[in-house]
């Protein structure tokens, strides 16, 4: 595989670049020499069968793999031109720029308000109580949740429905005002209606944020993303414009996957 990243057809400049990334869990190699560009203000979908390493790769972007003791990341990942694995980079600051939404909605067992306010509080983003309230309300509005919860912000976040909880997690990530939001199969536990709401939300969010989403569902990737990267067995098989990947893939493995023959 060539070490140069495939240049996206849309011509958007990449906000994040990965070059020759290898990830190991102990002795087992989970990601093998992956290079990928993440274009700014677009949605990039990482697809592939279970265990192909797409979630592992996603977690490299905000160094969530640091929390797994046996996990080692090699290679070069740059965010806005800065190598994020440089020892000088503070992972706390990095994660405030690159938010994350997880597969299973994981609101804190606190009130809806406190869930969203937690990020701004620990990063001291608000100047006053009113300002904090402002941030919370704006974030909830951006996540399309405000109208549903405006009268019960002090109720526990865990009392919401699954789809609402996931949007609460999105609001919580937005509240810190990140540039990139990483989403790890955010809809895999949701029903089709809740999924549609979140997909709509992602579409409106891409004007302000860059989104990288890992998904099992090829239809979802086709619906929401502009860029798609197909992973198989720890390798990046093919990446590029979503339309092209789904209509006219270059590689046979990609063709087999999107037509349902592997995976």
């Amino acid at each position: 595989m060539n070490t140069d990243a495939p240049v996206s057809d849309s011509g958007a400049k990449p906000i994040m670049t990965a070059r020759n990334v290898d990830v190991f869990y102990g002795k087992k190699q989970a990601i093998d020499n992956v290079s990928l560009d993440i274009p700014e203000n677009q949605i990039t979908a990482l697809i592939g069968p279970s265990g192909c390493g797409k979630s592992t790769f996603l977690r490299c972007f905000n160094r969530m793999n640091d929390t797994i003791q046996i996990c080692r990341v090699k290679g070069d990942i740059k965010f806005a031109g800065q190598d994020i694995y440089d020892p000088k980079v503070d992972v706390v600051a990095l994660r405030s720029r690159i938010g994350m939404v997880f597969q299973k909605a994981n609101p804190f067992p606190k009130s809806i308000f406190d869930n969203v306010a937690y990020g701004p509080r620990i990063h001291s983003l608000s100047e006053s109580k009113d300002h904090l309230e402002d941030i919370v309300i704006t974030s909830l509005k951006r996540a399309g949740l405000y109208d549903e919860v405006s009268d019960r912000l002090d109720e526990p976040g865990t009392s919401l429905s699954g789809g609402q909880q996931q949007r609460l997690c999105i609001a919580r990530a937005i509240a810190v005002d990140p540039q990139i939001i990483l989403m790890d199969e955010p809809c895999s536990a949701l029903d089709p209606i809740a999924t549609a709401i979140i997909e709509e939300l992602m579409d409106s969010m891409k004007e302000k944020y860059t989104i990288v989403i890992v998904t099992h569902s090829m239809q979802q990737a086709a619906r929401v993303s502009q860029q798609t990267a197909f992973f198989h067995l720890g390798e990046l098989v093919e990446s590029g414009d979503t339309k092209q990947i789904f209509t006219n893939p270059e590689k046979e493995r990609t063709q087999n996957y999107i037509s349902g023959r592997i995976g």
Binding site: N62, M64, T67, Q69, V92, A93, L94, R95, S96, G99, M100, F102, K104, N106, P107, F108, P109, Y118, G119, I122, H123, T158, C169, R172, A173, V176
Partner: protein, 426 residues
């Protein structure tokens, strides 16, 4: 209907039989355990219930100045030290005038508790105006009389030579009883006194306070140390051979017999550091050593049960490790860690052996006022009383066990309450 669908079909009948048999094994096991528990509790209850009552004897005492205060200055310490035996004896002789020989007088006086004279002295010294008057006072009966009045000595069954209370003593007691000069009242002394050589004067207050101070010290040491150790090992420490060794050692320490911790305390706290012997301070430190592994193990398993998703959520927002731990993980784990601590403390409350080793086994009359006062503890007090030859201590032993059990039940109820109150769902 086809045969194989019926419960009576051979295969099904066999399965059902196995199912039923297993259920019955379980029920029988529970029934046996419950009957043991009931047996233990009823035995303790019926033995100990008597100790909550105490026999009192009314004596018409003439507080003559010549006997109590020959100098006439009503000095309260002189009044306390005066000899009350003659006037108490005179009062008894009003009922039993025939007891005039030296031996008979001693026997008659022996119906009263040895503490009766001292008790009277305290009353008079608190109220010197009593001198010169005559009054009917109620004083404690001796332990033997107490047992007789409660029906625990049967003069018909036990031959006279085996009894401390002779037939003549019993006749005198009956004479007093006929005149309404014997009654039973609630034994407040049991809750307000320290230990005593006389069963009728002995109480558990000093032991209870000693236990309280020991547990206080134990909590102050074991809770923060245990929680911080658990948090560090579970949340911060990288898994390595070293942490594995620590883990194995903590698990082993939890299984070490408690008397070993007592020996350790004796060697280190008393002999090396020279801390005061027989005090709740050292007792609490030894109990803390013993409780620490329990608290650490319980807290670690609670921390491990906090879902990783909670940590991920905070870390993903850019919270630092410490923020994640103390804003989210520890608050969620706190109810469980408190419960583990209280259960560990309940075990410490019932612990005797390590306290014996550091000398909290002394005969303590005074109620300790601080952690460096000489003290004993409830289980040790039970041990001491159970070891006493006087029959009167049998009741006291069971009564003290009841008090200890009440404290243990209260602590466990409190642990359950805390868990219910603080628990948050996630």
């Amino acid at each position: 209907m086809p045969d194989y669908l019926l419960t009576t079909s051979p295969q099904m009948a066999k399965r059902h039989a196995r199912h039923k048999r297993f259920q019955w094994y379980g029920r029988i096991a529970i029934a046996i355990s419950i009957s043991f528990m009931l047996f233990m509790f009823t035995a303790i209850f019926f033995r100990g219930i008597g100790a909550f009552q105490k026999t009192m004897v009314a004596v018409d005492v003439q507080f003559t100045e010549a006997n109590l205060d020959p100098s006439g200055n009503r000095n309260s310490s002189d009044l306390l030290r005066a000899n009350y035996k003659p006037i108490l004896l005179q009062g008894l002789q009003q009922v039993v005038p025939e007891a005039t020989s030296r031996q008979d007088r001693n026997r008659l006086y022996g119906l009263l508790s040895n503490g009766a004279a001292f008790d009277l002295g305290e009353r008079v010294s608190n109220k010197p105006a009593m001198v010169g008057t005559s009054e009917r006072v109620w004083v404690a009966a001796s332990s033997e009389v107490d047992l007789y009045v409660k029906g625990k000595i049967d003069p018909v069954e036990i031959p006279e030579e085996l009894r401390r209370l002779k037939d003549q003593d019993i006749a005198w007691v009956e004479a007093l009883r006929e005149k309404g000069q014997i009654k039973k009242k609630f034994n407040t002394a049991f809750f307000t006194n320290g230990d005593s050589r006389e069963p009728e004067m002995a109480g558990i207050l000093s032991a209870a306070i000693g236990s309280f101070f020991s547990l206080l010290i134990c909590f102050l040491i074991a809770f923060p140390l245990g929680i911080l150790t658990a948090v560090y090992l579970e949340e911060y420490a990288k898994k390595s051979r070293f942490t594995d060794i620590i883990e194995v050692n903590i698990n082993n320490l939890a299984a070490v017999p408690s008397i070993v911790f007592g020996l350790l305390g004796l060697a280190i706290f008393l002999n090396f550091f020279g801390l005061p012997r027989s005090t709740p301070l050292v007792g609490g430190m030894v109990l803390a050593l013993m409780t620490l592994p329990t608290i650490i193990i319980a807290s670690r398993s609670i921390l491990r049960s906090i879902p990783q998703a909670t940590r991920d959520a905070a870390l993903g927002l850019g919270a630092s490790k410490t923020q994640t731990t103390f804003h989210h993980v520890v608050p969620l784990a706190m109810p469980g860690m408190l419960t583990g601590t209280i259960l560990g403390m309940a075990r410490a409350l019932g612990e005797t052996a390590p306290l014996l080793m550091i000398g909290m086994v002394a005969f303590i009359v005074d109620v300790p006022k601080g952690v460096t006062d000489v003290a004993t503890a409830l289980p040790v007090q039970i041990f001491l009383w159970a070891d006493s030859p006087e029959k009167g201590f049998v009741e006291l032993t069971s009564a003290a066990i009841m008090v200890l059990l009440v404290f243990l039940v209260l602590m466990n109820v409190f642990a359950v309450y805390l868990r219910r109150k603080l628990e948050r769902r996630w």
